[in-house]
């Protein structure tokens, strides 16, 4: 599975848009890109998933360029409650779909 690289930490302020970019240079044809959020003392929570182009749901957008070697998670108008660790993962569902977590990006939202 492709290794992912993302910033270790990011700071933002309430109301700002936050973009977290992840690189996955060795992504394979069958791989999906998925993002999870984790708060302290909780299990990870699914945010968004895509294969190519742009995906949007009620909480975030995911931008994937044509070569799929990177992806950007966009969180619009963050609030203090968005302070969490965000994980970018590459998943191969047709081979069991296990998630290989990296260190994630620790996002701190300040008032």
């Amino acid at each position: 599975l492709a290794k992912t690289t993302q910033p270790i930490s990011m700071d933002s302020y309430e109301g700002q848009e936050v973009n977290i970019t992840c690189s996955h240079n060795n992504i394979a044809t069958n791989d999906y890109i998925t993002w999870y959020q984790q708060f302290p003392s909780q299990g990870p929570r699914f945010i968004i998933q895509g294969y190519k182009t742009k995906v949007t749901n009620e909480v975030a957008s995911l931008f994937i360029p044509a070569d799929r070697k990177s992806s950007t998670l966009s969180l619009p108008r963050v609030s203090l409650s968005d302070t969490a660790v965000y994980y970018c993962l590459v998943v191969r569902y047709n081979q069991g779909g296990k998630l290989i977590f990296g260190q994630g990006t620790e996002l701190s939202v300040k008032p």
């Binding site: 999870y36 299990g43 990870p44 699914f46 998943v91 069991g96 779909g97 998630l99 977590f101 994630g104």
Partner: protein
């Protein structure tokens, strides 16, 4: 149930004792995964079930660790002769087969402390 349920939520055990951790996946979810997260460490894959079969056990750290799943539902992770390095949060996740639109649902975990 509405979510993935894990029990107990906290477990303190003495070194050398055996422990069993339980995971109740979402009803109808055929895939079930166990992970662990040590203090300050990332999430580490342990084992994957599809139905009652475990096609991928590659993450189990030693032969002291085993897991089973019965009836395509409840799974139990057993750690024999616990060691202090086994102290961690053990997380379970479940999903429907294939590429689930809404990803995997994780439980809140079992915090295991070996003293």
């Amino acid at each position: 149930g509405a979510g993935v349920s894990q029990s107990p939520s906290n477990k303190v055990t003495e070194k050398g004792k055996d422990v069993e951790l339980r995971c109740d996946p979402i009803s109808g979810h055929t895939a079930l995964y166990w992970y662990r997260q040590s203090l300050g460490q990332g999430l580490e894959f342990l084992i994957y079930f599809q139905g009652n079969s475990a096609p991928d056990k590659s993450g189990l750290p030693s032969d002291r660790f085993s897991a089973e799943r019965t009836g395509g539902s409840v799974s139990t992770l057993t750690i024999q002769r616990t060691q202090q390095e086994d102290s961690a949060v053990y997380l379970c996740a479940s999903s429907s087969q294939g590429a689930p639109e809404n990803g995997y649902t994780f439980g809140s975990g079992t915090r295991l402390t070996v003293v």
